[in-house]
Subunit: 568 residues, 2 copies
């Protein structure tokens, strides 16, 4: 098909999501900077053709790609209440990867080491290329290239729909074992020799500044080149089996450049559609979705209080130890208190395709904010937005503080006291304005105290601490987004609001502010939900969008490779 401008795509129906998320695990967090870029290990998935998805936004370009990995990964234990999906079937053995110095470590079961040698859990803007080892670990390994280096009957990759997997885990295990049997035999034969890749691998996430798109292109070229070596094929052959899916605004602006400089197929995918697909997919990954309980929200906004809720609560048992010490007037409670942390991975026992989290509102906070309504069947509409987003806060704080990047700004805000710059209800009224439900601590005017101090602007600038300024503006932007989000959720009768985009970054004060705004305005009837990979929804959606479903009858015999979609 000829290259055309962005086609006018009709609203899609629900898709069968064909990437197998059974046993998916989020790898251990390396550092706060990589908090939302942790890889997701998908033990049962293999790509026929390597797909690299790029979501190029106004400020950041987000990248998602899948690499082979046979190392056990440290991970937080799943909380779903099911038997741990990570326990491998009894016949398989995981061989730990080679250390970078070439020595191997002994095999063992259930290793939970930090994947520190996994080069693909990138810190933001970490442009170091993947390690150049002739190993398939961490490399793009499209299934079609497996033939080239397998000296056994090639294992048959199995592609099944997630829904079927969820329904029939035990059957799957059986079929999995049978296909993995080949691998097991292979692995037992040779220790110290690079193992062929297991089915399954790591979904990787990386971020670059859109302004420095050349860094992104360089990174991808290195990845492709390294993968060619690891697969022992020529660069041209590798490039033929790699596809780039580009979404976001930059998909249009950088399309020609990506094609030219990567020398691979590039398709453009519609941004909103990818956002929704990504949301529907990622919410199936255990521990991906979370929200703050009232206690947590209260504790974060009242650090001196005596609430004993732990920010890092991870299990339901711990939840029972939380004392409810919030005064009733602080947070309205029309419904039982949700736990501080809850996994929401839910099997669809009746075998329907419905995504557990639809219908919902998704609020994507990037440079600006898009607000999209998602119906139960996955159809969606961008209903609203606001220009007061991450870019606004970023821009303001870059002029008003010495912080050099967004994470520094968030750090500053953690130490700030917004009441030094904000005008509170109490400052105006001297007390509560209870007649209309405003407490004296409510912010009446963000930054409202700044103008008054000092006879001239020079004096004024010195009067205020950067930390206070940062906190005030973070609250101002977050509260406003929460407010607009609430109004749209109310308009469409939705009680669940997802927040995506690179703005939040797991920052407790931001999550707390958004949660409180939703709760306050809705009088407790709505819930704000967050995602660990919040910034990558569009990229994930673009990634999975191009995976073709495998016809069901091929499920058992394992024949055939699915083909990725050709260029539109």
């Amino acid at each position: 098909m000829p290259t055309t401008p962005m086609p006018d795509i009709s609203i899609p129906q629900a898709r069968r999501i064909v990437v197998d998320t059974t046993g998916a695990q989020i790898v251990q967090e390396e550092s706060p900077a990589t908090r939302d870029s942790r890889g997701i290990y998908l033990p049962h998935y293999i790509e026929p053709v390597s797909h690299i998805a790029i979501d190029i936004g106004g400020s950041l370009a987000k990248v998602v790609y899948f690499t082979r990995s046979n190392q056990p990964l440290s991970t937080t234990p799943p909380q779903s209440g099911h038997s741990s999906p990570f326990l491998p079937p009894s016949e398989s053995v995981f061989i730990p990867p080679l250390a970078s110095n070439g020595a191997s470590s002994s095999s063992s079961r259930h290793q939970h080491e930090s994947p520190s040698i996994n080069p693909h859990s990138h810190a933001p803007f970490d442009h170091s290329p993947p390690q150049r080892r002739p190993t398939l670990n961490g490399a793009l390994t499209p299934g079609v290239l497996l033939d080239d280096h397998e000296n056994q009957n090639p294992p048959s990759p199995t592609y099944t729909s997630s829904a079927n997997k969820n329904k029939s885990r035990h059957q799957h295990s059986t079929s999995f074992s049978s296909s993995r049997g080949n691998f097991s035999k292979y692995r037992r034969d040779s220790v110290g020799v690079p193992a062929p890749p297991l089915p399954g691998g790591l979904l990787n996430f990386a971020r670059f500044e859109t302004e420095n798109i050349e860094d992104l292109i360089q990174f991808l070229n290195d990845l492709i080149k390294t993968s060619a070596s690891a697969n022992r094929v020529s660069l041209e052959k590798m490039q033929k089996n790699v596809k780039v899916m580009a979404t976001g605004g930059g998909a249009h602006m950088y399309y020609d450049r990506l094609k030219k400089e990567l020398n691979v197929q590039v398709t453009r995918e519609e941004e909103m559609e990818c956002l929704i697909l990504g949301l529907g997919f990622i919410t199936r990954v255990p521990q991906e979705v979370f929200w703050f309980s009232e206690e947590l929200v209260y504790k974060v906004s009242h650090p001196d209080s005596t609430t004993t809720a732990k920010i890092s609560t991870e299990s339901q048992q711990q939840q029972e130890n939380v004392k409810l010490t919030i005064p009733p007037s602080e947070l309205p409670r029309p419904s039982p208190t949700p736990p501080a942390y809850q996994v929401t991975f839910a099997d669809t026992l009746d075998g329907t395709e419905s995504v557990p989290h639809f219908p919902c509102l998704i609020v994507n906070i990037g440079s600006g904010v898009s607000i999209v309504k998602v119906d139960e069947d996955g159809s969606f509409e961008r209903v609203s937005g606001t220009s007061l987003g991450g870019g606004t806060l970023w821009g303001l704080l870059s002029l008003l503080t010495d912080a050099e990047n967004f994470d520094e700004m968030l750090l500053l805000s953690e130490q700030g006291d917004n009441s030094a710059v904000d005008m509170l209800v109490g400052d105006i009224y001297g007390s509560d304005y209870s007649k209309i439900g405003l407490k004296s601590s409510t912010i009446a005017s963000s930054f409202g105290k700044v103008f008054r101090k000092g006879p001239n602007s020079k004096d004024r600038k010195k009067s205020f601490k950067q930390e206070d300024i940062a906190r005030s503006l973070l609250y101002a932007i977050s509260n406003n987004i929460g407010h607009v989000a609430y109004m749209n959720a109310a308009k469409y009768g939705l009680d669940k609001v997802f927040f995506g985009g690179c703005f939040i970054r797991g920052h407790a004060a931001t999550i707390s502010t958004l949660s409180y705004a939703i709760r306050f305005w809705s009088k407790g009837t709505m819930r704000a939900c967050f995602l660990r990979h919040e910034g990558f929804l569009g990229a994930i959606g673009a990634w999975i969008k191009n995976v073709e479903p495998e016809p069901e009858q091929q499920h058992e015999n394992g024949n055939g490779n699915g083909n990725g979609k050709t260029e539109e």
Copy 2:
């Protein structure tokens, strides 16, 4: 009654507005700085007891008070289509006031001189006291003190409800003439002698910074003192006949101080109630309410376009000359184009009490923003608000520019180009994102370009012009307010949104932005309306709130003075 905290006042029913607005005229604008503080001449009103209303907000304290004045005032001709209400009945003559040097000018009809010697159309923060002349012009002149210096039968002040006035203008003129007959005789007797005041006078408006409340107190003390001299009574007697009504947050915080330092009765009035009362009252004054047509909005936001709409259009004839040159895609037009400027003073021909502008949404933009829903009968509820208000813009620009006050900031913004700091849809997508209705010129992220420029913050600060920063933030705050206002209007099924508060100040770009936001989001079904005395709604409401209705049967015989309400 003992001093109590703000009582919990139940929502009032519609009140009969007893200040006679017939013939009300807004005096000529002295300067842009006094644009929204122009006095209102009420030819048929006299106060029994002088009421001074103060609305003390977070940043500004607004004052309204009524002074006697017998000078004809320059004013724009009324456009109501009725015979001019300003034409005095044939028997009366207006005597121009003494010039400050004591000389008198010849009497004449319909003088339209600028009231430059009227000391009570204050520029903001102009603290000069009223001129100290033994004349009643410009002084508080409560009716009860008239006895002291009238050597005729005292005229009988008439108090009638506005509704009756509207219905029976001709009858009123008759009764007015009869009561004014006394004055006419008096005036003809003596030229060059200070004339006793006519019924009627000037509603004055003044503003002070809340931070400098002592200036306000000083001003009022001077006014009272001067009025005592003019009325030839002792200060104590004057103080006994002056009442202060305080509203706004500061009514609580400064109550004791006002009582102590002014030595007059002080009552506290509930803020929201005063806002609504003030709105209902002021919208009866001709030329008070206005809105921008689409052409005007377009022209203001596209200064290079060829639209011929005039910003200063004041009559319907001029409107016919406006060519409609806006492309249909720019502004949706489900309804006929309203004129650029329209007086909305409407008689209630059926004699009901309904205020022509209710139901509506009133958005009061001060330091922060309050959003109040008003039902047809005048009952109201504060339904929403936002902390991103005038104080926010003021505070941010005080740190980011050299502007020393809000008017300077608005001037800066007029010369700015926001696309230098804002990230537009076109910057992200390279073109329109028409699939979701966003034009390339739409702001995707306010201030979104600021972070990208320059390797460090010092460089960044120098990269941006203050004018561009000012315009960007003005748009950001205004657009957001318009958006939140729209959502609330839509929620409650209202199609009219009034904007009040000291934020707008008749500034064309702000009015245009708010108008466009309302129009854009509502697809043209709603209208944004503005008020010339937008900042004084609360003060006006507090002022009129305490005027007791005169029993109807006393209307004709003119006996008795109504009493102001005693302290609660």
